[in-house]
């Protein structure tokens, strides 16, 4: 596979070159990247739980849950929250357009779904705040 085969993806004349991208294209690229991250996450999620649930009585599972509730892991969970909510809300926007809703107001629908996403992300942050900063009190 020659490097030049990827000119459509990386070249200055490519539709993906940052200055050539408009709102809808950014949303599309973001949807794909977050989608790939989520597929990887699902398989990690399954393999960790699978390994930990083998031990008799679930001792390893409880250890795993105690480890992953440490502040560092919960902070990483927050990144997952952002990725999931962006993917879900942008996906909802795509579904709405496919149903014929909001096509004439694409940009508005994008920013409304992103506003809802922002509210949900803040809600997620509030829900896990006491686990990331145990001393602070919630």
């Amino acid at each position: 596979m020659k490097i030049s085969s990827f000119k459509w993806l990386f070249g200055k004349n490519s539709e993906f070159w940052p200055t050539n991208m408009k709102t809808g294209m950014w949303a599309w690229v973001g949807h794909r990247l977050t989608g790939l991250v989520l597929v990887a996450y699902v398989f990690l999620h399954l393999s960790f739980i699978s390994t930990a649930s083998m031990a008799e009585g679930g001792a390893d599972f409880d250890t795993l849950m105690a480890t992953t509730s440490q502040p560092l892991f919960v902070a990483m969970d927050f990144l997952l929250v952002i990725v999931v909510i962006y993917h879900a809300m942008n996906g909802l926007r795509v579904v709405l357009f496919d149903l014929g809703i909001g096509i004439r107001r694409q940009k508005l629908v994008f920013w409304v779904t992103m506003a809802v996403a922002a509210i949900l992300i803040v809600g997620g942050l509030l829900a896990i705040w006491h686990l990331v900063f145990p001393e602070g009190g919630a």
Partner: protein, 130 residues
């Protein structure tokens, strides 16, 4: 559009397209249920008020058929949506479009194998007796 790219809809298929939308909506509902059941619901008096997930707590939940159906239903949707999404991304590349059959078979094998793996993962929780 660059010459070596083919419209996704022409490669991926209408059923895959429609199913991706249906599973997307179902996944939002499943994810909300999954998070609520794992992190906010109290399954027994002993575990009430505990934010930590424990093996026993999950076992108590998975003694009920409803939770098994919801869990396994979510896994099925996640796999179909995730692998179908991956397929769409791959088909934006010429070199994968050329190997369409191989990728379709490969993704189905991964999906079915992971569904069987899912039964294996649920098994210790279901047989724990709560």
């Amino acid at each position: 559009m660059a010459e070596n790219r083919v419209a996704t809809s022409k490669v991926a298929g209408t059923w895959a397209w429609a199913f991706q939308r249906l599973s997307a909506v179902l996944l939002i509902i499943f994810l909300a249920m999954h998070l609520y059941a794992s992190h906010f619901m109290d399954v027994s008096e002993e575990t009430s008020g505990e934010s930590l997930i424990t093996f026993d707590e999950v076992s108590i939940r998975l003694d009920q058929l409803l939770y098994i159906v919801v869990d396994y239903g979510m896994l099925s949707m996640v796999l179909l949506h995730g692998l179908n999404g991956l397929r769409t991304v791959l088909f934006d590349f010429d070199m994968f479009v050329k190997r369409r059959k191989l990728i379709d078979v490969g993704l189905w094998v991964v999906g079915v194998a992971t569904l069987i793996w899912g039964i294996v993962i649920l098994f210790p929780f279901i047989t724990n007796g709560g």
